[in-house]
Each structure stands twice: as C-alpha cells, then as structure tokens.
Amino acid sequence: MRDQSRDSQIERAIARAFSGGRYSRRVFLRRAGKGAVVAGSALTLQSILAACGIGPGASGSASPSGAALVGGGEPAGTLVFANWPLYIDVDDETGESPTLQQFTEASGIEVDYQEAIQDNQEFFGTIQPALSAGQDTAWDMIVPTDWMVGKMIGLGYLEAFDVAASVPNFVANASDKYKNPSYDADNRHSVPWQSGITGIAYNPELTGREITGFADLLDPAFEGQIGMFSEVRDSLSLALLHNGVQPKDATEDDVRAAADILRDQAPLVRGYYGNEYAQALADGSLAVTMAWSGDVFQLQFDNPDLQFVVPEAGGILWIDNMTIPKLAQHPNDALAFMDFVYQPEIAAQITEWVNYICPVPAAQEIIRTHAQEAVDADDQETADYLTSVAESELVFPSEEMLGNLHSYKVLSEEEEALWNELFQEITQG
C-alpha cells in the first residue's frame, strides 16, 4: 500500500469507527458488533446447545502432549482463514489483499479469507461445540490472542506442528521475543501474526504533565477523567505489574491485592471501556487511560499531542497467533501461508497497512526503503506516512521498550473464574 494517502487514512478511520473495525479488533460485540446482537445471541445459543451435557474433549481431540504433528505433506490448494477485521493489507483500488494474491500466485493455494473474529471469547464460542464434539471447525487457520492459544492448547483444540521444518522463515526471520513463548513452548502450535502493547495513553493538554506509570491512573487529580479496560486480563495485569508482580507468576493473593487497588480506584474511573476508549480519548472525555498501541498510533494522525507510554512498572505485550484448529482439513496450506508471511518483504507489506507491531525486525529497513522510493517518485505524502510507520516505537518498539513488556498469564479454569469474579465486582457492582 505504497500509495496510501491521507484521505484514505481518514476513510479508514471512519470505516473503523462505524464498522467495528480496528478498534474493535480486541473486544467482543462493541460498536457494530452491538448491532449484531441477534447474531451474537445465536452464537451463544449454539454454544449453549452444544454445552448441554457434552464436555470438552469428550471424543476425538487428542491430549496436548504426544499429539501427532501436522505438516510435511502436499498442500491441498485451499486455505480457509479466519482473521480479525482490518488486519491484513488491502489495496484501496481493488479491495483485494496483495499479500493473499501473491500467496496464491506463488503457491497455487486459493485463500478463503474471512474477517470472522471480533472477540476471542465469542469466536471461541462458535468453534467450541465442534471441537468438543471431535469435529472439524471448517477453519484451517484462526488467529486467537496468546492467552486463548494457551487455553486452547490446554483443551487439546490446536494441531501441533514442527515449526523448524514447516515454518523455516519464522525461525530465520522472527524476533527472538516471539520465539518459545510462555503460552506455547517451542511454538509447537502457533506463530505470531501481529502483536501490540497494552499501556497508557494520555492527553497532555488535560493532564498538564507527563504521565509515566500506573500510579497516574490512581491519581485523584484526574477524577472522572480516567479510563480503564473492561478486559479483565488487561486491567488486572497492569495492576499486578504496578505491585511488582509479573502476571505469569501471580498467585491468588497477588490477584486479590491487585483487585484491591482497582476497587479503591473505581470511584475515580470514568468508565470501563472496550474499543470506545479511543473515541473518549480523542474527544477529550478522558485525560489518561489504558490503551492499545495500534489505536494510539492511528489517533495520533488526528491529534499529534496524544501520547502512549509503557508504564514504568511494565506493560503487556499481547500477541495474536496463527494457529490450526484440531482436525482442520488443510493444515499443510496453513503452514505454507505461515511460512510465506514470514518473508520480510511480505511482513513489511502487511505492517505498512495494519500498523501493529511486526514480528519480523527486518521489515523496518524494508519500509524505510519503500519510503525512500516514494521520495524518489516525488510522492511526499506516502513517504511521510511510511517514515512515520518505520520510525514509530509503537510499530517497531525499541529493545528498551520490549524489555519492559510482559505476557498475560495463561489462566486455569479456576483462576479464570476468580479473576472474572473479582473484576466483575469492581466494574459492575
């Protein structure tokens, strides 16, 4: 997307705001999703019907360890791929994705690409009935967030593969930060698609000072202008880090202590937001708020004053991963695609459009080259845009920033129930 103009930026922003697009990448049923209440409840009903009496892994699904590996075979020529909205490059003119087209040209594999994931839990609800019954989900590749990957591995819902043999480009080109993650040892079931940071954004005009850490979210001076996330993992993890606890090491006592902080903070909080926090930050209702890096990078095009910081005590690096659900029909095609997008040139092409953190460090230099090419072609606007992508810490975080980012804890079912219960009591009474 080298001809990306400012106008198409704005169009994309509007499309996002009203179609439940990028902002709604992470949280269920917000914005447009709300319009789809009927669809949502139908999905829920489906999962309930399936939930009646059928336990997970009742049949068919193998245990996580000792499972047979997929891969090594010939691609079948088809890939059915479920991803989040606005999460792949799209050519403004044709509406097609150059990456998908190039993949089809190179491999002969046709991709049925669907923006089917609005939220981890909700999407899980749509495939859980099939998985628990030991049936194919109809998807060959899905993109859950790291903690959901951990949960699905635990339930035996993901195919395992030999990443070194099947996705060599990942081994060659991915940043070390993405290898052997805590939620999936040795990347046996997943390789990252894109990732982002949960941190703090603020409007300097309203705060009147620099914001540096989670303590600023607890400052009574900002009463009524503080935004928090309604996502339990994000909010509790930042509070845990504030207490000096790594989320992955959190014990029950740690979580209760973190919840105490959030409970005390509640009277100061304006609201517990999903994607709508971005609008509240943009329109001046919030002075300081928890935030996702990709959103703030976008908002800065309209208001360059807005700032994003990783809290001093640490932020969260969340990772959305390409995975193959159990019994997928075309696992070899999925692996071929994973390998394809880990070529730096392709990774750069996707990052230029989606603006999230690219797992391939070499892509930065390629985007710089593209910017220089735009300068040579006398297209200053595109050059400026590409430079801002290549040089942004929100797209290519510095080592220092990455060193201060931590992962979500993969929760057991009991822990998840406890976290949910503690947090719901804070946000909903």
Partner: protein, 287 residues
C-alpha cells in the same frame, strides 16, 4: 378440496396461525426451554455442564445482583414516564392538529429508525462528550462548570434509552388518539365540560389502549437494555441487569447464572404486565 373446505371451514383460522406458531415454537419456546434447562445446570466450559436441577441458582443471582435488578426497573420506570410525558403531547398534536402534515410528521417520528440503533447511540456519545458540541459550547459561554459531565452518569443512560424508545410510544398513542371521533369531544364541551374536563373524561379514557401498549413497548425493552448503559454509562453506578447477563454469557461463560437472570427478568416482566393489565382492566388492547 372445496368439499373439504366446506366441511372443515372452521379450521381455517387455525391454519392461519400455523406459520406464526411454528416460528414462535422454534425461535421462542425451544430457546426458552433450553434456557430453563441451562439455568439448572452446573459446571464450567472446560469440564462441561451437567444438569443437576440446581434451583439454588435463583436465590443466588437475586442476592448477588439485586442492585442491578432494581436499577434496571427504576430506569425503566423513569424512561416510561418520560416517554409518556414527551410522547403523549406529541401524538396528540399530530392526531388532532396535524392536518395535512400528519403523514410528514409521522415520518419524522420514525425517521431515526432508518439509522442503526448502534450508530444513533454512538452519535449521542459525540453530542454529550465533555468537550463535545453540546457541553463544550455551554462550557465556553460559561453556563456550565468546566468539570460538568453527562457521559457515564445515569442521566445520560436514561436520556439515551428514552430517546431510543420514544417512537415506540408515539406510534400506538397516535393510533389510539387518531381513532377518536372528535365529535365526542365537541359533544362534551357542548354539555358544559371545560376543555380540561373533556380531555380527562373523554379523550384520555379513549386513548388508554395506546397508553397501555406504548408504556409496555417502552418499559419492557428499557428494562432489558444494555447498550445504552454500556455506551453512555459504563460505570458501576450505571450497570443494568442486561450488562450483567452480557458479561456472564460472553466473558465469564457462566451460562447457568446468565440464563437464570434472563428467566427471572422475563417472569418478572410477565407478572408486571399482567398486574398492569388488571389495573387498566376493561380497556381494549390495540397496537
């Protein structure tokens, strides 16, 4: 065929009920039974759910979420009162004073429905934002204090619900008022009723069917609303029971509790409607 129809003609009205009946059976009765069954199950997503006839879930959720239940009922009552206060004069004016503009005015009433519910509510966020069009202007000219805000307060939530359900109240009121033969009102005034007496003793009683239908069409969805509470509220102080159900279903995967709350809400509303109907007994119900 003709002979069969002659012999069994009495069945035709029932045949007409079949499509709607089947629809309700598949999309209302069956889900209801499923919901009732789920409410009585215990378990988790990971270990599966098992039917244990756990009636204890009902007192449990009532005790745990009593604040949210009461808040929803309170909001719904206030919304019903507001929609009536705004909608009745509106419907009255259109029905009796609309003249040849009646159709245009009615179109204006339903015009918002041409836009999605969600977009309308999001627009309210823009309008009510702290530095937005409305509050920003009032703050600039010094009418409001700088710290004043509406979003994330009960006022914003109630206003949003009122706005969204106002047309549902105006339309049945209009239908009821429009049917009234204005000669009856004239007759009352001829018989020395004042205008106020004529309204209270002729127009209002004749429009009660509209009041009944309109107030139910506002109250029932308002009690179950969660979108306004989330988009315009979003705090502990504005959480309605619908938000709790949403969280329990989609985030916590606690299907039994969510189903139990839904059942309680529904049974409560049906009970309320029956009582309300009894109070307005004898009124013909037309929508």
């Amino acid at each position: 065929m003709a002979g069969w129809l002659r012999r069994h003609g009495g069945l035709i009205p029932y045949l007409f009920l079949v499509p709607g009946g089947l629809w309700l059976l598949v999309f209302f009765v069956l889900p209801m039974l499923t919901m009732a069954s789920v409410a009585l199950q215990e378990g988790t997503l990971g270990t599966g759910y098992r039917f244990t006839f756990n009636l204890g879930v009902f007192p449990e959720v009532i005790g745990r979420y009593d604040d949210q239940f009461l808040r929803s009922l309170l909001y719904a009552l206030v919304v019903t009162g507001l929609t009536m206060a705004i909608g009745y004069p509106m419907a009255y004016t259109i029905a009796f004073r609309g003249g040849r503009y009646k159709n245009v005015l009615l179109l204006l009433v339903i015009l918002p429905f041409f836009t999605s519910f969600i977009i309308r509510t999001i627009s309210w966020k823009f309008i009510l934002a702290d530095q937005g069009f409305l509050l920003g202007t009032l703050k600039d000219i010094g009418i409001l204090d700088d710290g004043f805000r509406l979003l994330a307060t009960p006022i914003a939530v109630i206003s949003g619900i009122t706005y969204n359900y106002l047309p549902f109240v105006v339309l049945p009121l209009y239908v009821a008022l429009e049917k009234i033969d204005y000669k009856l009102v004239e007759a009352a005034t001829d018989l020395y009723a004042s205008r106020a007496q004529a309204f209270l003793r002729v127009t209002l009683p004749l429009s009660m069917s509209g009041v009944f239908a309109g107030s139910l069409l506002a109250f029932i969805p308002a009690a179950g609303d969660y979108i306004n509470a989330e988009l315009l509220g979003g705090t502990r102080e504005t959480t309605m029971i619908g938000n709790v159900v949403q969280t329990l279903y989609l985030t916590n995967n606690d299907y039994p509790q969510a189903s139990a709350i839904s059942l309680i809400l529904m049974v409560g509303l049906i009970g309320g409607v029956l009582a309300y109907q009894r109070i307005l007994r004898g009124q013909e119900l037309t929508v």
